[in-house]
């Protein structure tokens, strides 16, 4: 969303298609000191709204979506872990996360590929007058708004990871894990993909709103975390049906609504690029929801409510990197294909491999994210209605996309292994069998969700 897609916005405007990337990078590098560029009140109002919409995705959106999928005895635990991990991420973000991801470059060129300096730790030097660049030269937004917008991305990403480990991981362990994981996984990957000095950004990888940074990253981390933590007691022989698909449905709707802030907000301005991201976030999602139900029918099952909700999320995940990088019909195909692939990941692949990714954080965010990130390289082509330039080289771009995906997978997997190991050393990681049996709501929080 940050600089990656800047090329996209520029390309969409034919006259600006050849705008030199370095000029824009220079603008992004020096956001605050000499604010001569214009801050538009419309852009600012939209970005503040978009930021709050992403918060809506976390609490209550993701908390209800995930909570409804767990058993009734773990409802509060699931919701609390999501909310608390997000809250911790917000505090860490303003302490050093923003600086590590988007701060001034470090002096070592090699190191600046993966991380920024701590010069803006504790938001040093940022005031209400500070500004951050957008994708349009001469148009900026208040830096506090940019810091807040990016903060919500860090918060939801760490919360997404927890979907694979619910119903058995200690609350304290989720907090320790979140702190370490954000520091060694999220901040570097956000820098690599979205900051102008980042490795993947310089390579030209397309990621409009975080398919790589948020979804592949969270999905792969979730898979590794669930493998290290182990299965829930009784899985897969004991039935563990969702305790309230009603709440999951409510959460799905809140996620979809909030996702407009996530995707359209990633344009950083209230403009045509945001409008493109908006319509794609409608139609790719609609295609995803229906595609999942169609695959269920084709497999001889009934079209299910949970399938509809799952397809919606798969479509949203897939369109995230493509939001401003695809035409509406490319987005429809992308959402539908991602939904079908995710269906097989959660219904066929997971049972066959036997891992307990409890709420399918990998099966939907990881797999859907990969389909979306690689598919973005396809639907970006002008021949398919995408906003790419006329001389768009799809083969070369696909290689870049695949390389960014592969590097993210490796980085996230190793970093998560370290973060889980630290959490285990500090907290023991997993609740006692008795607590798991009676539910984490009582065992970890001393409450019941329903009385």
């Amino acid at each position: 969303m940050f600089k990656l897609s800047r090329t996209v916005g520029a390309a969409a405007l034919a006259a600006l298609a050849a705008l030199p990337a370095f000029a824009q990078e220079a603008a992004l590098q020096a956001p605050a000191t000499a604010p001569t560029a214009t801050v538009d009140k419309g852009d600012t109002a939209w970005m503040m709204t978009a930021t709050i919409l992403v918060l809506l995705m976390i609490l209550p959106g993701l908390a209800l979506f995930y909570g409804g999928l767990t058993r009734a005895k773990n409802m509060l635990s699931t919701m609390t872990q999501i909310g608390a991990a997000a809250a911790l991420a917000m505090l860490i973000w303003v302490m050093y996360g923003y600086s590590l991801a988007f701060g001034p470059d470090v002096s070592s060129a090699a190191l600046s590929n993966v991380v920024a300096s701590l010069d803006k730790a504790f938001l040093a030097g940022i005031t209400a007058a500070s500004q951050s660049a957008t994708f349009t030269a001469g148009v900026e937004i208040p830096e506090y708004v940019f810091v807040s917008f990016q903060m919500t991305f860090a918060a939801i990403t760490v919360a997404l990871v927890l979907g694979s480990v619910v119903e058995r991981m200690k609350f304290s362990a989720t907090m320790a894990f979140a702190a370490v994981w954000l520091t060694i996984v999220y901040f570097p990957i956000a820098h690599m993909v979205w900051a102008s000095s980042g490795l993947f950004f310089k390579a030209g990888a397309l990621d409009f709103a975080g398919g790589t940074v948020v979804h592949i990253n969270a999905g792969v981390s979730a898979l590794v975390a669930s493998l290290m933590l182990g299965k829930r007691m009784g899985y897969p022989h004991t039935p563990m049906p969702p305790h309230s698909l009603t709440l999951t449905g409510v959460g799905t709707g809140l996620l979809w609504v909030g996702w407009f802030g996530f995707n359209a907000g990633s344009a950083l301005e209230a403009n045509g690029s945001a409008g493109l991201a908006m319509i794609n976030t409608f139609v790719a999602t609609a295609a995803g929801g229906l595609a999942w139900m169609l695959v269920e029918r084709a497999r001889g099952h009934k079209g299910s409510a949970l399938g509809f909700c799952s397809g919606i999320i798969a479509g949203l995940v897939a369109v995230t990197p493509a939001a401003g990088n695809s035409g509406p019909f490319g987005a429809i195909v992308l959402g539908g294909v991602a939904s079908a692939v995710c269906f097989f990941a959660v219904s066929v692949l997971k049972p066959r491999l036997g891992y307990d990714d409890s709420l399918d954080a990998f099966g939907i965010h990881g797999v859907g994210g990969m389909v979306g990130a690689i598919g973005t390289g396809i639907v970006y082509a002008p021949a398919l209605g995408g906003p790419g330039a006329a001389d768009y080289d799809m083969g070369a771009k696909l290689l870049v996309q695949v390389a960014a995906v592969a590097a993210t997978i490796v980085w996230a997997a190793i970093g998560t292994a370290v973060a889980i190991a630290v959490a285990k050393a500090l907290t023991g990681l997993r609740v006692a069998p008795e607590v798991e049996q009676e539910g984490l709501d009582l065992g970890e929080h001393g409450e019941r969700a329903y009385n």
């Binding site: 897969p236 039935p239 563990m240 049906p241 969702p242 099952h301 009934k302 299910s304 949970l306 399938g307 799952s310 269906f343 959660v346 219904s347 066929v348 997971k350 049972p351 399918d360």
Partner: protein
């Protein structure tokens, strides 16, 4: 006195109640129960994970009546709750030793 216990399909409750009321039965007790017979339950699927529940939800209707009324109660329930499909349920008839109306202390058939 007899206690007639009928396990029926839940949506048949209203028909059973109306038929028994027409017969002069003055009260009944209804409980939600689960069980299985020849009807083997349903399959639920969540994201491909199949759970077959072998227990089917039913209603248990209990009617206490005078011994001479019992055969007609049984016949009435059998007809009212019948759909012709498996899973229509069962009727059991037990001997009833004593009945007391709590409010008045009346006993046996006066208490029914």
């Amino acid at each position: 006195m007899k206690l007639v216990v009928a396990i029926i399909k839940p949506f048949k409750l209203d028909e059973v109640r109306e038929a028994l009321t027409a017969l002069g039965v003055a009260g009944m007790t209804v409980t939600e129960v689960k069980g299985f017979g020849r009807q083997k339950g349903q399959t639920e699927i969540y994201r491909g994970a199949e759970y077959s529940s072998n227990m089917v939800p039913k209603l248990k209707v209990e009617v206490a009546c005078a011994a001479d009324l019992a055969p007609r109660v049984v016949e009435t329930v059998q007809q009212a709750a019948n759909t012709g499909a498996i899973g229509d349920g069962k009727i059991f008839v037990l001997d009833l030793g004593q009945a007391v109306r709590i409010r008045t202390g009346e006993t046996d058939t006066n208490a029914l």
